[in-house]
Symmetry: C2
């Protein structure tokens, strides 16, 4: 925030962020889908216990630089971690609200090639379409698991693109999940912009390049984690992520986030190794998780640990 | 460029851009693939005439804000126009070098849904995978056309992500295409960044958000078009695109680009209507192209017009 508003409380900063944000499209539809999903799952049970619910956020948020957006700032994130984690949460019996960046990696699609989807197929002599033998098994399992998750109401997918959409929808999700009390979890894997251009300061039209260098002032995005914890869903179990490129500051920043935002777990990872290794940081311990084989997903082990910690949390008086 | 270099010629600006750019990975592999593709097609003919070749650029370039990139500036572009146009160029007998943004829309995939690919499939009772009846015909045609284009050597796909990769590879492609003289074409549909952060001015690590607002100075990307026309492939037929959000300045800017860069055609379009309508601007005329039905691709009509204009260009003494 610029100096004039430096003194605002997090709650005030968040409020002014929402006040100045563009109107969220389809908010009624999103509200309805959330209500249906929550109603269905709040009365369901797993192994005799109330079903747990988790909001998995995934992919990067964009920051438009123009109101009719041609250019935007984006955050590196394939969405692979959130998509893979969603599969393991469903398998662990959680109802999952998957809040994902439009176009980013989807659950049950994490094995897909980045580009041509056509290389998956061949035409047999009688010109029927076939999935290449090499991919057949994995595609079969994916289709089965995906349809099972959706048909049984374990998975609700909500897309976002901009930082404005992300925070607006996250607040709606948090309000719904708060009904689950301590049985709710947040798994905040999305790469959220730290800086943005307030809608009212934004150029309406494409910024013209004729006139020399471009100077931009970006405002800090209000830290919404503390508001999520204090106001939106105070009893939920909260897991956030810390991605850095510099190993020397990673754990220090993870500890800081843990304390500043009262997270229950902060998953710390480095850009260079995030697919092989993470450190789960809590008040009392640091647990290093390394994937145990080339084929394994480190997410499987992360979710296993978090489900345990969530269970311990539920045991507490 | 900042004031100190304001006086540089376009050629000098381009040279200093390349000198300061990070090293291009796989440049040997790209060189080899280009050489094979050009060798094969430079001796081929269509209907008794030498085969023509076109470089279609597609998708947006990114501008990293950090050397170990977490954040970047991106340009809105699905890559749909470049991908669809590639199909029509192949159908018109052109050899196509498709220079595309990694992850953007692919030729013969333009009908694909943005997100879950799994909705395309179902498992039959004997649990074999089937493409939904509704999609079967279009998927079949795509697979057939795609494999035909690749197997017959009509299509070379080269991916890029950053503005640095894009311009480095474009120069390599241009040098190869220059061997085709006036039988070569450039169809520059990529959304290329106008501003960037020179590699040497770039933060090595993720920019930290602790300390107030972020001020950024972006440098203008040198106008590569004039160098492409004058030095890289002086005889090739050049088509560039102009996308604006403000209708009042669109055609003025298209005319300016036509003259400044000596383009043969500038395709002018508005963000709000680019899928329905474009204006093909040449020195002598402005041709409005509107798609003639809901199902049609406006690209089919654009390519038809450009193939004619390229033929006229070849007739000239």
């Amino acid at each position: 925030m610029d100096s004039s508003t430096q003194s605002e409380s997090p709650e005030e900063e968040v409020r002014s962020f929402f006040d100045s944000a563009p109107h969220l499209k389809n908010s009624d539809l999103i509200t309805q889908r959330l209500k249906d999903f929550v109603d269905k799952n709040s009365h369901a049970s797993e192994n005799g216990k109330p079903r747990r619910i988790v909001c998995v956020t995934s992919g990067g948020t964009t920051v438009p630089l123009e109101q009719r957006c041609v250019r935007y700032i984006d955050n590196f994130s394939s969405g692979h971690r959130g998509a893979a984690s969603t599969e393991y949460f469903v398998r662990a019996g959680y109802a999952v609200i998957f809040l994902y960046r439009r176009g980013s990696c989807q659950p049950y699609c994490t094995y897909l090639p980045e580009d041509s989807f056509l290389d998956f197929f061949e035409l047999s002599e009688d010109s029927t379409i076939q999935v290449r033998q090499s991919h057949s098994a994995v595609v079969k399992k994916s289709i089965r698991d995906y349809h099972a998750a959706v048909d049984h109401g374990f998975l609700l997918e909500l897309p976002f693109t901009t930082i404005f959409e992300y925070l607006q929808i996250l607040q709606m999700v948090a309000t719904s999940i708060s009904h689950f009390g301590s049985h709710g979890m947040f798994y905040l894997a999305a790469a959220v912009s730290d800086f943005y251009v307030p809608w009212n300061d934004m150029a309406e039209h494409k910024i013209q390049s004729a006139s020399g260098p471009l100077d931009m002032r970006l405002t800090q995005v209000p830290k919404m984690l503390s508001v999520l914890r204090k106001e939106w869903a105070p009893s939920a179990f909260c897991v956030s992520f810390k991605l850095e490129t510099d190993p020397d500051i990673l754990l220090k920043k993870a500890d800081a986030a843990l304390n500043k935002y009262q997270m229950h777990v902060v998953v710390a990872n480095l850009l260079a190794t995030y697919k092989q290794e993470v450190v789960a940081v809590t008040k009392s311990q640091r647990t290093t998780i390394r994937k145990h084989s080339q084929e394994a997903h480190v997410e499987e082990q992360i979710i296993e640990l978090l489900v345990e910690k969530h269970a311990d949390y539920l045991e507490q008086p």
